[in-house]
Symmetry: C2
Subunit: 316 residues, 2 copies
């Protein structure tokens, strides 16, 4: 059941592009062309475009039985509505589930995109068989989802699992929701790059790396650049703070980390594990695995499709 053979369409709705695929088991067996999110003026037009591509996939795969879509923002799974999307204007209180279901004729479910990723890693990936886990993805922002007691944890208004909004400093900078010291405002790609530029400048190396993206900083650190190594260690300390908080609250068996920054592997994972080991009560650490995500870009499509199938046919 965890790799259900019932075919479904999964959609990964991103701020830049929307990707669609037909999922069977843990494979995406067919893709539709990507949709450029920002080229549509309003939700209605964008949903019509998505529905056209769903039809395109359904024509060649009439065996699909459900449709799942992951979206970047606060999504009420049970109501099928979007409260708000992080980087796409105009999406406030949109009944997207009903609109998409009407336009496609398929049983449709919508969920937060990081919840879809967590669901894919739990059902099919690095978190298979775990009872409690947190799965996060590091990119422009920090997305995350929680599995608690063998269920995707949604909370009272389906707004749970937002590790990126948790604080690492009660006096820290004010973020998107008025919240102070949000992790996302310290470990997002832009913030990492800004910190790196500051450190290089303080070291008299203004031009050492022109674009301080994660890949450039990874290469520099692997070549022994001390500033780049400091950047990774500081990043690990900040991330560790939020993950330590998760552990003291939830005592999970696994933390699964994906996204661009996680590709640096040991540069991130080693200082992260060391910091956590030094700050966690021993039984919390001994029972914990810190793992790289199994799926990359297709986690969202896979998770959305499986969530739709499992909710529709098996009640999750």
């Amino acid at each position: 059941m965890s790799t259900s053979p019932i075919p479904a369409i999964g959609i990964d709705f991103g701020g830049t592009s929307i990707k669609l695929g037909v999922v069977v088991g843990n494979e995406v067996i067919a893709h539709a062309p990507s949709i450029a999110t920002q080229e549509y003026d309003n939700p209605e037009q964008l949903i019509q475009a998505i529905a056209q591509f769903v039809k395109y996939l359904k024509d060649s795969h009439p065996e699909v039985k459900a449709l799942g879509m992951g979206m970047p923002g606060f999504v009420n799974f049970y109501q099928g509505t979007i409260y708000t999307l992080t980087n796409v204007p105009g999406w406030n209180n949109v009944p997207v589930r009903q609109m998409l279901q009407d336009a496609t004729g398929l049983p449709t479910y919508v969920e937060n995109d990081a919840n879809c990723m967590a669901y894919a890693e739990w059902k099919l990936g690095a978190g298979q068989g775990k009872t409690n886990l947190i799965c996060l993805t590091l990119g422009t922002g920090v997305g995350s989802g929680l599995i608690i007691n063998n269920q995707l944890h949604r909370g009272a208004t389906c707004s749970a699992g937002e590790l990126g909004q948790t604080s690492i400093d009660y006096k820290g900078r004010i973020g998107h929701y008025g919240n102070r010291g949000a992790l996302e405002d310290y470990v997002g790609n832009r913030e990492i790059a800004a910190d790196a530029r500051t450190l290089y400048a303080a070291n008299g190396q203004d031009k050492a790396i022109v674009d301080c993206n994660p890949l450039a900083l990874e290469r520099a650190a692997l070549a022994g650049d001390p500033v780049a190594l400091t950047v990774w260690n500081e990043l690990a300390k900040k991330l560790a703070c939020s993950l330590i908080n998760c552990c003291y609250l939830l005592n999970p068996e696994a933390i699964i980390i994906g996204g661009g920054v996680a590709k640096a592997k040991d540069l991130l994972f080693e200082p992260l594990k060391n910091t956590m080991r030094g700050q966690l009560f021993a039984p919390l650490m001994e029972s914990l695995e810190i793992l790289p995500a199994r799926f990359g870009n297709e986690a969202g499509i896979l998770g959305a499709a499986h969530l739709a199938i499992n909710t529709h046919f098996f009640e999750q």
Copy 2:
């Protein structure tokens, strides 16, 4: 079932004293004399003393069917063992459940004391009917327990629910487990008193309040003392940080607050609610109630007794 009529003995094992009572429904119908915790040299002697008082209660109430004990530290509920107690030396890896069951002949369960309190508030008190809640008690330390999806959440090694160990500052002072910026190290009674003394001294009022305990600070604030008011507002900001983190992670319906500091009511609750309202995504706040605990000192006895009965007869 939530106020089970099956009688049980509940024990609240504190660092200073141990209290025992016979529980029926939401009442403690009989007490035993308190035991002075620190007068016993080792776990064996203390358990024998507890067993004597259990026998004393059982003789007058032979209808009791189970025994539950809450303890201040990391307790493995399923194994019935203590990893370590916070303020009682010599309690490391003690199989306390088996020892107490052998000594009393009653089906016995042991649990973290704050989990017992959370259980009592959820089953019988301020949290009745809630699906997801966090319950905390503010005193020398910060104790807390989580109810998630209608279950006491224990996690992989029964070490979950430790809000007091979560960080509010990733660069903060180093605490008991090597962890930085633990909430408990900012809002415990000793820390509040120290902060108050510092503020009074900075204000040229070294002798304004000799013993800056919560009650004295409450009276001073109610009389309009600006320093005492500042102390309460700062306390609320620090506490809000950890509670905001809980909300972004878990999206609970209720936060229940007990303990000495919570007796100050609006002095704590108003700035706490205002800070949280300003930093939480609106649907998280709209679905949230922030409530004073219903039970005071008897929460531990009530929760331990009900947890024992419900686990033994109804699987929680």
